[in-house]
């Protein structure tokens, strides 16, 4: 009956910070691009140990803020000095060095997509693998500790981007966050109509006699998810964010039912 808590920046991540090892590699960002719907470790440097706030070695100057300022000027490869063309710069094509994390690049940009909800998910995996072949920490084992740190961060962020964009609900929450609208996944359900509907469905899941029945409920949930996914797309396009949030709420609950079903199947 437990539920995975969203990686919420008021939790451990505010309490903890990664110690910048050799360089001040990015720390988490406490600005509005979060919370992410899934555990988004990408906002935290993954290469070194956690440390408590106020660690004297913490420089306070994060790469993220630095790169955000610079992203539209010139970005140079830290290794060979080559000037990148365009703002998307995860990997240097001329010396094959992995670049430090740049939080100003959003998930859609990573996948070369326009920032919109309706995307073709079937092309994501190929692009995801292309990135991993350039960025995965396994491939830079013999490189410097600094570059291994970059690889760990970049690769983790690409995993996150892939997971987020390939799932409609996560993608919806994410694209809203890019518009500055945060979704509170923990909020209590207040719409009595939706509440009774959800309770009813849950009861049906609890009492389902066999897997056939469960499968049936599952396909009903899928239909509802598809429906509300379309509603979200429309609302979002018209920038009707209240309506969009409502669709997300619906999707969240139907999604949870699906998760319950999968557990029982």
């Amino acid at each position: 009956m437990w539920k995975s808590k969203v990686w919420n920046l008021t939790l451990l991540s505010t309490i903890l910070r990664r110690r910048p090892t050799l360089l001040s590699i990015s720390h988490f960002q406490s600005n509005s691009t979060s919370p992410f719907p899934s555990p988004s470790f990408s906002t935290i440097s993954r290469i070194s140990n956690f440390d408590f706030l106020g660690n004297p070695s913490f420089s306070g100057k994060t790469f993220c803020s630095e790169s955000a300022e610079k992203s539209h000027v010139h970005v140079r490869c830290w290794s060979c000095g080559n000037v990148a063309n365009g703002s998307l710069f995860l990997f240097c094509d001329s010396c094959r060095s992995i670049q430090p994390l740049d939080q100003s690049v959003d998930y859609f940009q990573i996948f070369g997509l326009e920032r919109k909800y309706d995307i073709g998910v079937e092309n994501l995996e190929g692009k995801y693998k292309d990135w991993q072949k350039k960025l995965h920490p396994d491939l830079v084992h013999s490189k410097s500790e600094k570059e291994r740190g970059f690889a760990a961060e970049q690769s983790a962020r690409v995993i996150d981007a892939y997971r987020t964009l390939s799932k409609p609900l996560l993608r919806a929450i994410y694209i809203m966050s890019l518009e500055g609208v945060d979704v509170d996944e923990e909020e209590t359900l207040s719409d009595p109509e939706l509440l009774s509907e959800i309770l009813e469905i849950r009861e049906a899941v609890e009492e389902a006699a066999d897997s056939q029945e469960l499968n049936q409920i599952q396909s009903q949930m899928q239909e509802k998810l598809d429906h509300w996914s379309n509603s979200f797309a429309n609302a979002f396009q018209c920038r009707k964010f209240e309506e969009a949030l409502n669709s997300i709420r619906r999707m969240t609950y139907y999604q949870r039912v699906n998760e319950e079903i999968v557990k029982k199947l």
Partner: protein, 574 residues
Amino acid sequence: MGMAEPAYTVASDSETTGEEKSSSAFPEIAIGIDVGTSKCSVAVWNGSEVELLKNNRNQKMMRSYVTFKDDIPSGGVSNQLSHENEMLSGAAIFNMKRLIGRVDTDPVVHSSKNLPFLVQTLDIGVRPFIAALVNNVWRSTTPEEVLAIFLVELKAMAEVQLKRPIRNVVLTIPVSFSRFQVTRIERACAMAGLHVLRLMPEPTAVALLYAQQQQQAVHENIGGASEKIALIFNMGAGYCDIAVTATAGGVSQIKALAGSTIGGEEILQNMMRYLLPDSEILFSNHGINEIKSMGLLRVATQDAIYKLSSQTSVQIDVDLGNELKICKVVDREEFEEVNRKVFEKCESLIMQCLHDAKVETKDVADIIAVGGCSYIPKIRNLVMSICKRQELYKGMNPLEAAVCGAALEGAVASGISDPFGSLDLLTIQVTPLAIGIRVEENNFVPIIPRNTTMPTRKELSFTTFRDNQIEVLIVVYEGEGEKVGKNHLLGYFKIMGIPPAPKGVPEINVCMDIDASNVLRVLAGVVLPGSRHPAIPVMEVRMPTVDDGHGWCAEALDRTYGSALDLVTVQKKI
């Protein structure tokens, strides 16, 4: 090696873990080692392809065993005598891959009691007593020591052939190995002077080889560049492992893993019990004659099982001594009936893996069956029939696939590149087992579910079980059981000094982090409502923390503390 020198050196555990120390301009190529329960092999990238190394008897597959006969134990790599004969004396220890990192309550340890050496248990959760009979005295040893002695020989063999010192290795391990077992493997490697660059679940090594072959096919314009899904079934003497992988452009994304401790050893034991039903009682005293009888029965049964792969019936004729003779014809149907449960378990593992990968059988492009047991007709048939196929993938040698994959990973992870793009490869791994903590009533709550892409970080919230509870115990387990007793204990630590509050009020956040080097860290913090700051300093502990002989179990905790230090999961809001 001189007579006075020890067979192995003991290095500190820390040497094998975490980041390696140097990165020179010309990295040495890590070798791939597949330490099987019964056989072992070594391979290395030779600059253009993977090459299996041979011992001085021209063998690519070497028996995984060590004989404690003289002052210096010797293993199956260099030893000139045949394994079969030594097995009869009680001096040879084998099956260490099945025994390593297991306590004496483990069913796998119990099923090892009829091996022709000593495995004794007290059933209290400590290491089993394992010993070889040397000059009528039981010489105790450990699976780590046996493995280390064996690895020393493998290392020496590879060094002679490659004419360079060997330090870095990529080892294959079973999917079902716990992180504690992994530390034991790393310990054995450290004792042998080897540094573990990577540990790969066996079917993922096969997946990497498959990715390379697919990439090659694309280059030669045989196949398309689109993604291909493969099911990999790998069953050796000790373990049965399954993986579903999606491959494109030389990248193998593992979609799901499933593993179990069933293997050829279980099939062999079922057959021995079938041929001589009270063998375990007959041989339980482990006298020299009994050991000899056990060894003879084992050799004869093994031989019969091999033959049943190619013939439909086999004549078993063996004199076990002590007026015990077995003379029997066994046909393939009998064999399949005797091992019905094993085959059913294989089927359910495949189904589970496909389900976890969310892959339909019609989407599986290739079915790869490797490992010694893949020669058993029943196994081949069941794998094909689940996937509704008429044939298996043909591009691999079933006994060499895993070690070849390990050697490829060794080259890739060492930073070697190939002008023809043959090393343009990557495996994206997932967690083979769920990792979580114990909550009230000995329930297990996964925090990182199994089949999560690594590296990863996940967090869950918990709360106190009692009013004014100032301490909670975080007990970390790995496994799939709903109760912690079914899972592997990785370690535990206490959070102390929680400000007194009614039960359910303190928010205890437990975060688990697996980094790029596959190191697991567990963090726990406490937040009180209305505060954005931690109530007490956050604890971060690297796992596993348990060491040998941890006679610790859920019952002991219950007995000592009851529910005084329990955690409760935070109920989902509706």
